[in-house]
Symmetry: C2
Subunit: 298 residues, 2 copies
């Protein structure tokens, strides 16, 4: 494949949601808002600020409405919330969000565990959510979780992921997500998946959500850039984890991603030093070292 | 470039040298030998066991002779020692090693700091070392340190690195090393460098020595595999650091490298679970978390 790096890339900061949701120590609303404000100051224009899941399941996100009520008013910044069912969508709408992120695992086992439903039932739920969100005037990013492997089922057939992508595209999603939720993907698999999915998506942007659970995150991102992907979820400090895997690390780190993009001459508009400062302060607050590399140096 | 993954890859474990040399806590000879024995049991056939530098500069390696005296007798395992001058070479020879690793930085500043000499003087020293090592019947792996950037000088011109490689090849080195000592390299730069150096090296194996200081290590390794590189230095747990950069991480982690190679269907002969166990025990002994990912999971 000929390298066709994009000129610019959009990073979507998911630290406030995916990064914080597995932290034992509760981060108060004041501090969540401060994190979001610093993220914007660092040059990031898209932020996943919370998730609308049941407070009992994810206590860290029980303050979703309170966070949304205090988001800074900045027209050039897009805030989104994760929703996984109609109840969550209605909460996000009522909280004033205009953008949601949703998805279904490509693993039957995980689908049953997470949502007590089959993949097919999950996709039917997606149809309802996309339609209702669009009726609300919200944009919908939706896609396939555990698209590159599942800790319960192991390998996930690419055809299954591709079929789900086709269904999402048929629903009219505004953006399509491929998520390596378990960090099981490798660069060759990434290339093969993208060579199939990108042509199907056409003008619909494909967003990659990569976890660095096994250290493959940045390599997977590099290959995706070669394939022309322009949207990536990242988390300051590589903050995050996995409720199922002790010691597992989080999303690819925002600062390390920006370092590579800077080096490749791809614009992000993000100030790596400011992101590094956020991560160092989070380390102090959480009392633990974060897995990113650049925050030690920037 | 068409991907031409090698069928198998040789990992050279440098944890006992590059990993340990920056650790404040002294690791006794008994334990170094136990580490080396466990490395062999995990399936690794090449190990950098020590360095012959001045004990005052690197106290952790002051036991080089004692370590060499107690190396297991295994004909199918190749032990090498790092030497940077004739005195070190003579010590390595006297200690019974048959393989040495040496090199010169591509940075004038670092060359002056490390060896109080210019690059040209360093290359002259290399000529003497290669000739004398071959006269001793030793094999010599030699190459360019900080080939992908220097913390003092920043970018290093590729032409300078290539010229040094040509000189090393003319000396008749048995293997040529390209070292990203500062972890400043990016995958695009790696590809450009290898597309020039690999044809020059011809049948002389090119060994990559990658640091993960900025999180680019595994991505750089992936690109190098695409280019056909078959030899990599790695360190259990990603153990290591940099005396000049607080918080800087070490070499690419052996277990994470093996994970990617396994996933790509490239043979290593290395048992990832055994490497992970070594790293976990090292974490306990050193009292700190190591940056690798897989040792948490394997």
């Amino acid at each position: 494949m000929i390298s066709t790096f994009p000129k610019s890339v959009t990073l979507i900061e998911v630290g406030p949601r995916d990064g914080l949701q597995t932290q034992e120590k509760y981060v108060p609303v004041d501090q969540k808002i401060a994190l979001i404000e610093r993220t914007i100051a660092a040059g990031i224009k898209r932020i996943q600020v919370t998730s609308f899941v049941h407070p009992r399941l994810v206590p860290q996100m029980a303050d979703a409405e309170a966070v949304c009520a205090r988001l800074p008013k900045q027209d050039d910044v897009q805030f989104n919330g994760l929703v996984l069912n109609e109840r969550g969508l209605d909460r996000a709408h009522k909280a004033g969000l205009q953008h949601i992120d949703t998805g279904v695992p490509a693993s039957e086992t995980l689908s049953q565990k997470n949502a007590n439903s089959s993949i097919a039932e999950g996709m039917q739920r997606m149809r309802v959510i996309v339609e209702r969100a669009h009726a609300y005037g919200m944009s919908v990013r939706a896609g396939v979780q555990t698209a590159f492997g599942c800790v319960y089922e192991g390998a996930i057939p690419q055809e299954r992921v591709v079929a789900m992508c086709e269904q999402f595209l048929a629903m009219g999603v505004d953006e399509l997500t491929l998520a390596d939720s378990a960090g099981l993907g490798n660069p060759l698999q990434m290339k093969q998946m993208l060579q199939t999915v990108l042509p199907l998506a056409g003008d619909v942007p494909v967003v990659l959500h990569l976890h660095d659970t096994r250290g493959m995150g940045i390599a997977n991102m590099y290959v995706a850039l070669e394939c022309g992907v322009r949207h990536f979820d990242t988390s300051f400090g590589g903050l995050g984890g996995c409720p199922f895997i002790e010691g597992a690390k989080g999303n690819i780190a925002t600062e390390d991603s920006v370092y590579m993009l800077d080096q490749l001459g791809i614009e992000t508009g993000v100030d790596i030093a400011q992101v590094g400062a956020i991560s160092r302060d989070l380390e102090t607050f959480l009392g633990k070292e974060l897995p990113a590399k650049l925050h030690h140096l920037a």
